[in-house]
Symmetry: C4
Subunit: 479 residues, 4 copies
């Protein structure tokens, strides 16, 4: 008798069925640190709805460290009632009422990084409490872990306790590990979590090396640290690129756009590349003081659509050259590509050198993986002509962004600049070639051709490539 | 009373008595990935028999990932009946009927790399099922291993469970570990397996560095990755050369010859060096579309005889110089040698630089190990004159290979170009100096002499050296 | 019912409530090694009181290795009665009587580094004995640890046994781990100890590399070794800077000032940077032979106040340039800053190059962390004008130091050069702007300004910066 | 009641009371590998006695791998009766009868490196058998260890089982670990063994790098390998120099002198530096074919006296400069010094560059450790004038060595060239300033002086320094 097999569908599940595309939302840490309270959360949520950010998909409000005041005599955490006078359950209810989900923070140690009580040894009690509050998401840090690390097994076992505890609650809770890449979580956390940080903490710098972030590679890094720049984190991704997949995402840390430490084009690089890599997109700035320019960056649906693409993969760095260093001693250019779910390919030409560069991408570079994947015949991709769409060409004007901020916008929520993902998922939108997701057609690449573009200093060009006869592209049940 | 000792004969056994020389065959992954089904396997087997590949020794047909559809209620795996409508047992029977053995794939994790059910925790059930189907070979991968790695002990313990389970079935099953060199399996897997991968996955490139394959050495590599080039993998072997031995082979991954990413001479390097290193030889391309030139590479019996030599060792890289880099920034030349079972020595002059090189090998280089192995008298090898045979000189012509492909060949199966190992083992053939195994005599090297040859860009010269009075060569019971 | 939460106040506690600022005192090892006896301890304590060192805060007298003679039949350690004829309890009493606390040494191994009996397996017996003697401090070494290391967990578990044993005694005992940074204690020891060595042993050299101290970074160092120079140890700190905190200090090892191997300005660097980094300050020389110049270094209250600042943090290395190497092949300049508890900032311009340098610190460098910490508005610090105080400008003259040594001093114990921390803590002194803690006003830095100073070869300028309108500086409950 | 303390005397014991100075003797592996039999052992022992080697201290005859034929039904090993027709007990008795001790080989794995049965899981049975045979010494290898390595704890635990088993036999057996430095045994094996290999296997080359010996440092080496040259092994010692001590020696592997791969002066370097480092001195060549020149190297009592000095320490590499590379790309000069038990200092000027060098050693270099060891006053050593003795100046002539070989020697066994350590220990001989131990006086070094000597390519000068008024040298109970 054969029984009824339990079918496993490759590439379409996750350990708990959640987070098939990367989580999006807001987290207070980058801009506020421990300065948390309920009005910050609620005001932020209200503004995010008003500015259209919620409907672009930023739908988790995550409260980071420093919210508790200790444990009660039963061992349950107690929220700080000065900061949260309504009580955390009420805060969660109001956040839900605004159309958001609610995220919470703790650490797999005896204390949080801020030296508040940690969850090590209290996993089930804490998970039960959060579930009773209506928590939908847990960021789970790595501070004060009592030395329970040093091999993948030690870290897996510690993080797995909370994974099991969350499942035990019965409530769907996205589990976002934050162990900074210690013991290579990208190699073992898929089965127990929905995302995992792969580097030390970001800081608001484009590429300045800092002695507190000593590694330039994720794998084999003995000390993730913090004060890692955008370019530092980005360049730790290529080696582990294949470990980003539907249901488990390599988390490059929260976004700094809006915090003042980088130029507009540097923030465009930061946002574009986080989207390209399928990193979670957590806004990390003060929403009420957001400038129109920065809102326009966060609000580019054509870029967000890359992040939310059902392919759920990370871009590949096809080449990298060290050139033309800046005042930090850093200079490089690189080409990144990624195949999307509908057969499109996206390509980023990244100029992190010190001056404007004419950059080129050949068909051979773009489709390297197809060329070398057992192609006993020339791959179809190389025989296509590809239309090229610039995904930043429709960036919202400052005037339009300003009108969103001051509540005077008259632009349709479905235009070349705006998109409502609450109403129509990105997947559906892409099936329908929604205008706002496609950018502007700027040319094409013929077989054996080369795409060239002038890219400014510390800037990026991001292009969606669509085959002119894409229906002929062979689809394979392949990984 | 002395009792009856259990005799251990050095160098002639293995953990389960199998695989005293490296396994040969075909595996679908490199060319087909998850696109598997029974007709692919059966058609391939038929063609391999027709083209003479089976009788050259390629006698395992290995089905890689993506063949199952889940587990039944008893916990047994169930094959995908759409892909394998006859059922796996029937497929195995037909493969056996064509004169092949049948190989199967799983992973020492909760899922396979393709996210099908893995065998971790189901080892005995899975081994029993495969044995009941008539499986002869298991490729056992490392994906989704729940962090059970990080020290040799953790990896050993996990892989040992399947080793014991396979033994428990009573059926002889070759156990091919595929843990990519994690935790240095070359140092501990001899006692539990028949071969072990020592690097991240190969891709069809001669020497292009790729950010997804970050290591250049096997030992101490924190992240094996994939997209490793032929030269990358080859140069990871010298440090662990001594850990290849009869019954346990360092597996350099499946062959890319025929997949289109390399030139003819690059494929010759790839095939020659895999043979020299006693790596398993698994053809990784689409057999029905194989070109005559590529068939001629796979079909060189003089090279295969190196691989199947009872010495079962790996070549030593005697020297390596970085010179004359190509467009990938890579350029080097190297000398490799290996002592064979009958006292012959094989030598490869490898030119991975960017232009033709006149390359030299001195007697001191070739016989370095003899010179430095406690030679309290001058080693006999250095006092010999050695005849030199070029092992690629008798490469099958494209016309002849084409006639094998279209079934019109009239060449004898035992000629200068062809060999039937089913009828006569390579060991026997070498004892009889079978023509097809000896190549063409191209000169000799006197004591204190030097051998020189012009080697083209990205090419290799492979030479068998035979002492003119070899009967005088001292044989030692030595390791 | 909510129960009564146990309040955790961030940044103001430690595992046992002790050592909220770094320990200060004297340890015999650097100058005497195993040449220990009771008169050495008692004479040293008397002199330290006489010279004013005790009242500057150096109030632990730590007896290092080689004091025992074995274990008695009950398993308790026995002191060497030749060296300590009065018995250890009596020695402790007399030390207490001189106004000091008493420290003791052992090793988390079967023997101490000097091959005297170690405490591994005898933790509770030894802790009980020490408590019965009145011991206030334990330096706990790492020699002969039976291989119980190699992962953070193995080291944590071993050191935790003594931590628990000390707590069990009921006596407050500062626990100073000395495992040389093995297995990254800065990442796990906060919860079980009060300080932890982060490097191999110091030796009395400013910057000479030595083959016995092979690492230049703390993290990932496979062999801490010994014979580490001042600059070697200092430059291992930046990566782990954030792991120094109130209650747990990264211990850079005992001070060499006075031992003859460095110039006066090199000793000034050594002492200043240990203070800046909140390293424990243990005098490691022979007090009775201390020169006036060296006493003046140990006695600078403005520098000690940095070390004893309630902020309890370590300075950040903002930049480092390799320039102008000396005869050891070493040459570099660097900028270090640290934010103090009262809103002041301290800055060190360190010249470890081979000649005098004009060194500059910009406001952007000094306040980098404020600029990049989610500053959605320009940080207040950058809009301030800062007064600059040179903390070495009031260094005690050799004449004055000499008068302390020969007991003829007539200077007030609260002058520009002297401070009595027994009477008034540094925290209080800073609140009151005690003269001796503030150095000499030498200028100011305006917004967008740069501070410049000529710094001699192998020397350092240390400056306290105070905002002219510091009351406006935003205070955040932040980490 | 105080009880009776168990006194631990620093620096004069070992885990089992044996091997307070390094073991000396002969091992067959380097020259014979698996070609072992009883007549080889007995003939070698007879010749070693005849040539005076036994009485120079070479008194262990160690039988290496390949001596067994399996285990009997009771689980006891059985010797190969073809190779050892008299039985191993009888062989041991005869070796004892010739005035030697008898050493034996096994591996802490399931097989020896030669794939004979290993002792893992059979430790007590094997130890008991060896004790019953009269075995005095065990070389214990690391092959096929089932992955029981990867942390110091895993290796310690495995090697400790045999340590306990040997102790359990009640027979004094020197325990020589051979785990190639895996998991840093120099840091944990003192408590369980008498020596421990710290590198991969030596081969008979002075300085040729080989891909099979990939590390240049011992600490942090992921793959010890083999085919390590003399200079490679030597330069792995400085970082771990302090871990050589009485009762536990870092074993640099067996001597190659006599095997033909190096020049006479290179062998002098090899032998001198092994002696300087207190490495075990195991002759690794064929004694009956030993040349007079090579016998003269092995027979220099002034050099052996360094090795057998009760200080039992290893020399320190004071400086190293990379200069003048040879055909292997290697070139360096270095200064090594070591303080001896009687207050003398030994100094080696090593020229591993490609041409003759005038080399200098300053007093500051020679006495660096004294200068920097808490010297609150100028160290006595720097104020001394030191007489310099060349320890190779009395090297035995080839004529004299030849007369020992052919049995015609008429030289007194106690002359400038010969020494009988069986009659008078080296310690006693040094107390009496035995002529043969002191070399030839060649000059002196005044305070602040410099010693200079012309050292030939690939050669070494070894000098004993004796203070002219050495009685004034302070002796400290110091480590």
């Amino acid at each position: 008798s054969s029984g009824t097999p339990e079918v496993i569908i490759p590439g379409a599940s996750s350990y708990n069925g959640l987070n098939l595309v990367p989580q999006m939302g807001w987290d207070n840490w980058n801009a506020f640190g421990c300065d948390v309270n309920e009005s910050l959360l609620l005001n932020t949520a209200q503004k995010m709805a008003d500015y259209g950010l919620r409907d672009l998909g930023y739908n988790y409000i995550v409260l980071d460290d420093c919210w508790s005041i200790g444990r009660n005599s039963s061992g349950y955490l107690v929220e700080n009632h000065v900061k949260f006078p309504s009580g955390m359950k009420e805060v969660a209810d109001r956040i839900h009422g605004l159309g958001f989900k609610f995220g919470m923070y703790s650490s797999a140690g005896i204390m949080t990084c801020g030296r508040y009580p940690g969850s090590l040894g209290f996993e089930q009690k804490d998970a039960d409490l959060w579930a009773s509050w209506g928590v939908d998401y847990l960021k789970y840090d790595n501070c004060f872990n009592q030395g329970q690390s040093g091999t993948p097994k030690l870290s897996f076992d510690r993080y797995n306790v909370m994974s099991q505890a969350l499942n035990e609650t019965g409530r769907p809770i996205v589990y976002a590990m934050c162990n900074w890449g210690n013991d290579d979580p990208y190699d073992w956390a898929y089965g127990i979590a929905n995302s995992g940080r792969m580097s030390g903490d970001i800081y608001d710098s484009f590429n300045r090396p800092d002695s507190r972030c000593p590694c330039t590679e994720a794998v084999g890094c003995p000390w993730p640290g913090f004060h890692c720049s955008v370019m530092n984190i980005l360049n730790k991704m290529p080696a582990i690129q294949s470990r980003t997949m539907s249901g488990y995402f390599n988390d490059m840390d929260m976004l700094e756009v809006g915090n003042g430490g980088q130029s507009d084009s540097e923030y465009v690089v930061h946002f574009s590349m986080w989207a390209m890599m399928s990193s979670p997109l957590l806004i990390g700035t003060n929403i009420p003081t957001l400038s129109p320019a920065n809102l326009a960056i966060y609000s580019n649906p054509a870029i967000i659509a890359l992040n939310q693409d059902p392919s759920a993969g990370a871009a590949i760095r096809k080449w990298r050259y060290f050139v033309d260093p800046d005042e930090n001693g850093e200079g490089e250019i690189s080409l990144w590509t990624r195949t999307l779910d509908n057969g499109d390919t996206v390509m980023a030409l990244l100029n992190a050198a010190n001056s404007t560069m004419m950059m080129n991408a050949t068909m051979n570079d773009i489709f390297l993986d197809q060329r070398t994947a057992g192609a006993y015949q020339e791959p179809e991709e190389l025989r296509q002509t590809w239309d090229v769409y610039d995904l930043w060409a429709n960036r919202m004007s400052e005037a339009e962004a300003g009108s969103l901020i001051n509540g005077t916008s008259t632009v349709s929520p479905n235009s070349t600049t705006r998109y409502n993902a609450t109403a129509t998922s990105y997947e559906e939108g892409l099936e329908n070639n929604a205008t706002a997701l496609m950018g502007v057609h700027v040319g094409s690449i013929a077989p054996s051709g080369t795409f060239s573009a002038e890219i400014a200093r510390h800037s990026v060009g991001v292009y969606r490539l669509r085959a002119q006869s894409s229906s002929s592209l062979r689809k394979r049940d392949e990984l």
